[in-house]
Amino acid sequence: MDLNFTPEEQAFRDEVRAFMRTDLPADVAAKVKGGKRLTRDDHVRWMTALSKRGWLGVNWPTEYGGTGWSPVQRHIFEEECAAAGGPRIIAFGVNMVAPVIMKFGTAEQKAHYLPRILDLTDWWCQGYSEPGAGSDLASLKTRAVRDGDHYVVNGQKTWTTLGQHADWIFCLVRTDPQAAKPQEGISFLLIDMKTPGITVRPIILLDGEHEVNEVFFDDVRVPVGNRIGEENLGWTYAKYLLTHERTNIAGVGLSKEALRHLKTIARDQLKNGRPLIEDPIFRARMAQIEIDLMALEMTNLRVLADVQAGGAPGAESSILKIKGTEVRQAITDLARRALGPYALPFQSEALDGGFNGEPIGPGYAAPVAAHYFNMRKLSIFGGSNEIQKNIIAKASLGL
């Protein structure tokens, strides 16, 4: 057993670090580190920099212009991105729909969509959830009815993350309401957001931010050529995508960065005239999380090593999702506590990049409580933590 990274992996880490120093736009990194709002343009500039270096298709094979990196390299990359303040890569195009197109798309679809994802021409969003279909995704009702060489789509999607920026949406739609099982009558469609009949309405989250949307479809005509694979086999493709959605699910790099930030806050905040980081109760709270994160990192590396050796993660990815989100949430919870009374003021304008007014309390205070509330989403989306436990109980423990 050797728990060290190999010299090649160390060298790779240095290479990634050097790239972050030269190519990650400093203003974008400053926003990420300061917990400020990112614009569409901020994301695009960062992803363009990655794309130019050939590093946007982190999970892609080289034949499509991807990195061809090993799981451990991807892990190192994620860690260094987070440490440097690189925004999380918007996954919907490059990490969600792209693998499905590669695996199940026609040659034409691959040739058309994949380069446009890699060069940032198209921003994608995910149209799975509906008001009545959350955890029970297979109960979705959005209808697609065949009319010549088009489908006519009617219905509603919801929780569509960053749909306000999107050029395209990949959707699960019902093509056979009579199928024996609900999973069997679903198709996977790629829909141009500019098609007449599509309306996007913002949903404001509890932190006051516009992050998700409702998307309404009213007689939206979608060419049959925009269907992935076979009609009524969409569920199979969606399940394949869900396994890709779970790559990097542990978010170890992000949690490590969040923990560093927490320590910065705890060093600056005072309790009885001493730095909060020296307070025994608070220190114990922080240590507990740090230890959980160490364990999570090892669990994650064990899974990665397994995948690297050709194994397929099963229940492990559910474990990583549950623990990863719990650790991240616990860190944001402590950051909020660390602020003391200054967690209360809600200075929304201070989250804008151009803000140069007077901060209320310490300069790092403004996003902290809002971020804590926003991070409640982690245990709800991507398959809620309860659903993950059901998966482990059933698939892995045979209960």
Binding site: S129, G132, G134, S135, D136, S139, T158, W159, I203, I204, L205, L206, D207, G208, Q269, L270, K271, N272, G273, D279, I281, F282, R285, R336, R337, L339, G340, P341, Y342, A343, L344, P345, F346, Q347, S348, E358, I360, G361, A369, A370, Y372, F373, R376, K377, S379, I380, F381, S384, N385, E386, K389, N390
Partner: protein
């Protein structure tokens, strides 16, 4: 032992429950919270008409002579409605300080106006590096020929931007952190040298950052020995916050239970999944534990200092933990819907979590409870 309310308390409860139920809908609350001052003046006038602003004060100054339990009754109802009016700032903290520290003349004058709904108060006490420490007062009070003048900074002053009069703690002697040498002073909102920057808080309320630069001030009672009054007023504030949290937790639990029974996934109500049933049971258990401690804190407000302080610290710890648990679980058991601004529950969750940031959090009161129990507290 008798846990029942007196006849007057029952009537008070009916009055305030009805008010919140019939006239304090979520839409109205949201509109009031979003307005410039962060609450409704008309609603405040209604509180005055119904006598709610008179509840804790002695009859001699126009009050109803209510005790901790009466305060609990009001605060719990306000928690159910997520009331944003400055009751804690004006009546519970501000009013109590006047009652406990003020001269007879100040009491009669100020409390008379408070009870009539004509005067808003705020307690400008916390300072930038003070966290929750009640003795951390660095703001200086200096006496010169023409009276007292205050210089310093006060932070996160709840409803400080709406107050007609700020009650400012300031040091007449000693160093920051000493309990001795702290005075209370009345400062008019339009006083020269006073800057008040108001801002929204994440739970729908308002707070202010206050800068005092040689501001003329009137001492509230005898300057210099105000710490016991501050501690006693804050104890009332904590008891009120505990009761408010109980009210808000009740709504969070009811809303979640209702959702579990109506939301269907996989062809059945999600409340039929045992994994969620036990979580709902845990929320209810936390609520009952919290309610018990809110009652105890209210009942002990009149006890001697150590017993009172030890009890309110214990209550604040219980409430801090329970409110956090109930808030997070209520959101989780709902799924995405409870993450939205439009869904009232998300605002209950925010208030429940933020109550821990007012008048001392779980860690602060745990330490304080230990110190008071060991008899090592000053």
């Amino acid at each position: 032992m008798d846990f029942s309310l007196s006849e007057e308390q029952r009537l008070l409860k009916e009055t305030v429950d009805r008010l919140v139920r019939d006239r304090y809908g979520f839409e109205a609350r949201q509109a009031a919270a979003a307005s410039e001052q962060g609450f409704s003046r008309a609603m405040w006038a209604t509180f005055a008409e119904l006598g709610l602003l008179a509840v804790p004060f002695p009859e001699a100054v126009g009050g109803l002579g209510g005790g901790g339990v009466d305060l609990m009754v009001v605060a719990e109802a306000f928690g159910r409605g997520l009331v944003v009016e400055p009751y804690l700032a004006t009546v519970v903290l501000g009013g109590s300080l006047v009652e406990l520290a003020g001269s007879d003349e100040q009491k009669a004058h100020i409390l008379g106006h408070v009870v009539a709904g004509e005067k808003l108060l705020a307690f400008a006490h916390g300072e930038p590096d003070g966290r929750y420490d009640l003795a951390h007062v660095g703001t200086r009070a200096e006496e010169s020929g023409d009276g007292w003048r205050l210089t310093g900074r006060k932070s996160v002053v709840i409803n400080g931007d709406a107050a007609d009069t700020l009650i400012v703690s300031a040091r007449t002697a000693g160093g920051t952190g000493d309990e001795a040498g702290i005075g209370l002073f009345l400062v008019a909102s339009d006083a020269a040298g006073l800057t008040v920057h108001g801002n929204p808080t994440i739970d729908g309320g308002r707070s202010a950052e206050v800068v005092l630069d040689g501001v003329a001030a009137e001492p509230l009672g005898e300057p210099g020995a105000a710490f016991p009054a501050i501690e006693a007023a804050v104890a009332r504030g904590i008891a009120a916050l505990c009761a408010e949290a109980v009210g808000a937790m009740e709504v969070a639990c009811e809303t979640t239970l209702d959702y579990l029974k109506t939301r269907k996934q996989f062809g059945r109500p999600i409340g039929s999944f045992q994994a969620l049933q036990h979580r709902m049971v845990d929320m209810r258990t936390e609520l009952e534990q919290a309610r018990s401690m809110a009652i105890l804190a209210a009942a002990k407000l009149g006890a001697d200092r150590v017993e009172r302080e030890r009890t309110v610290s214990a209550a604040k710890v219980t409430i801090g933990r329970a409110a956090h648990h109930v808030a997070e679980e209520a959101i989780q058991l709902h799924g995405g819907i409870a993450m939205t601004w439009e869904y009232a529950l998300s605002h209950y969750a925010k208030r429940l979590v933020m109550i821990d940031h007012l008048l001392g959090d779980v860690d602060f009161h745990t330490e304080r409870f230990i110190a008071l129990t060991d008899g090592t507290a000053a």
